[in-house]
């Protein structure tokens, strides 16, 4: 019982650490930047094709996570 309680506390601690605005915004920012780089890189047409979806996903994610608690 106490082991379960410890595990759930540790899991909640991990979730609390990750599900904060700071790290999530950082992830969203990285995705947006990746989308922009994919849009403008001159090497692979496939990356260019997926750039809009990536930038859109990053932007939507940023808009959502900016409402998450600090």
């Amino acid at each position: 019982m106490s082991l379960d309680a410890n595990t759930s506390t540790r899991r909640r601690g991990l979730a609390n650490r990750i599900l904060r605005r700071g790290p999530l915004e950082a992830i969203a920012t990285t995705i947006i930047a990746a989308g922009v780089v994919m849009l403008m890189q001159p090497f692979f047409l496939t990356l260019y094709s997926w750039s809009f979806a990536t930038a859109l996903f990053g932007t939507v994610m940023f808009t959502i996570v900016s409402k998450v608690r600090e």
Partner: protein, 319 residues
């Protein structure tokens, strides 16, 4: 005299006249009053910002053409998006944009930060020099585009004569705006000339925000000027530099006016940045649905970058 004193004792009582509207407003709650004042702004924003955006998103899924407004509109789904995102010509326009953005931002940041370091030192007439350096930024892009077109003229342009003076080449032997290799650089030079002062201003704000006692402590520790620059000046001014980079990056990503005035996208398509391609699709080929989809792709990119910009701005503000 008596009459006067008698008349001065007369008191006039203002009879309140309350029109029906005033009486109605006075009966409103604070919240209702707030809504009353905000509503015109919201309606205006919806009309000139939100509605065109929603309408453009809708058009991007259709075959609508603005020059055939009465033709039946067919729903195409994501066809335009797929077409744009697999088109090598649009990809090439994106690379032209990338070339323009990367070089302008790099040159403007290096020169702007260098100028900010110079201006930050107190010297005689530094206020006058700051004003002179800021002048290009205050001009309209239309004016800048026109007079740089004259400066780049091979026969009468001052730019060619200056280059000829320093390199020994003939002034008419090269065309900045007509040459495939030189025209992208011609635009980069003009943009750097115009917007370096802006980057300088932001960097100057960053440099002025560094407290003097940090430098005094470094002096006490016998840190060299070089060491002070790398350990104090650059790290503390970095958020401001990032701000300038992001702002110039966003602005140059959607650059249209100056490129249109200087080269119009030519020669060939060597200076055809994304916004020029968009304008051609929208107002020369009249492919409104297609250009709407392209506009949405550019909008999402700029919106994403603007989010990063706002985040960087908040970080600077919280410092």
């Amino acid at each position: 005299m008596n009459d006067l004193s008698a008349s001065s004792q007369i008191t006039y009582r203002a009879v309140p006249v309350r029109p029906a509207v005033v009486r109605r407003i006075r009966g409103l709650s604070d919240q209702a009053l707030a809504w009353l004042f905000i509503t015109p702004t919201i309606v205006l924003l919806l009309a000139i910002n939100i509605f065109p955006l929603v309408w453009t998103i809708y058009l991007s899924f259709t075959n609508y053409r603005a020059n055939r407004a009465n033709a039946p509109t067919i729903w195409l789904g994501t066809d335009w998006y797929q077409s744009i995102l697999t088109d090598p010509d649009i990809w090439a326009a994106m690379q032209v944009t990338a070339h323009f953005v990367i070089w302008t931002v790099l040159i403007e940041t290096v020169l702007g930060f260098g100028l900010a370091l110079l201006i930050d030192k107190k010297f005689r007439g530094h206020g006058m020099w700051t004003t002179i350096i800021l002048l290009p930024m205050m001009l309209s892009p239309a004016v800048v585009g026109n007079f740089w077109t004259f400066l780049y003229q091979p026969q009468i342009g001052l730019f060619n004569y200056v280059v000829a003076f320093f390199t020994g080449r003939g002034a008419s032997s090269f065309q900045m705006l007509g040459d495939v290799t030189l025209s992208p650089w011609a635009i980069i030079i003009v943009d750097a000339w115009m917007w370096t002062p802006y980057v300088m201003l932001i960097c100057l704000a960053g440099l002025r925000s560094i407290p003097d006692y940090i430098y005094e402590a470094a002096e006490v520790d016998r840190a060299s000027n070089w060491r002070q620059f790398w350990s104090i000046t650059l790290p503390m001014a970095l958020p401001f530099i990032m701000l300038a980079v992001l702002f110039r990056g966003i602005e140059n990503f959607k650059m249209f006016d100056m490129v249109n005035l200087l080269t119009g996208g030519g020669p060939g398509s060597t200076t055809e940045v994304a916004s020029i391609t968009l304008k051609r699709a929208a107002f020369e080929s009249w492919r409104t649905g297609y250009s709407s989809a392209f506009a949405i792709i550019l909008f999402v990119t700029v919106f994403g970058l603007a989010n990063i910009y706002v985040k960087a701005l908040n970080r600077v503000k919280n410092r």
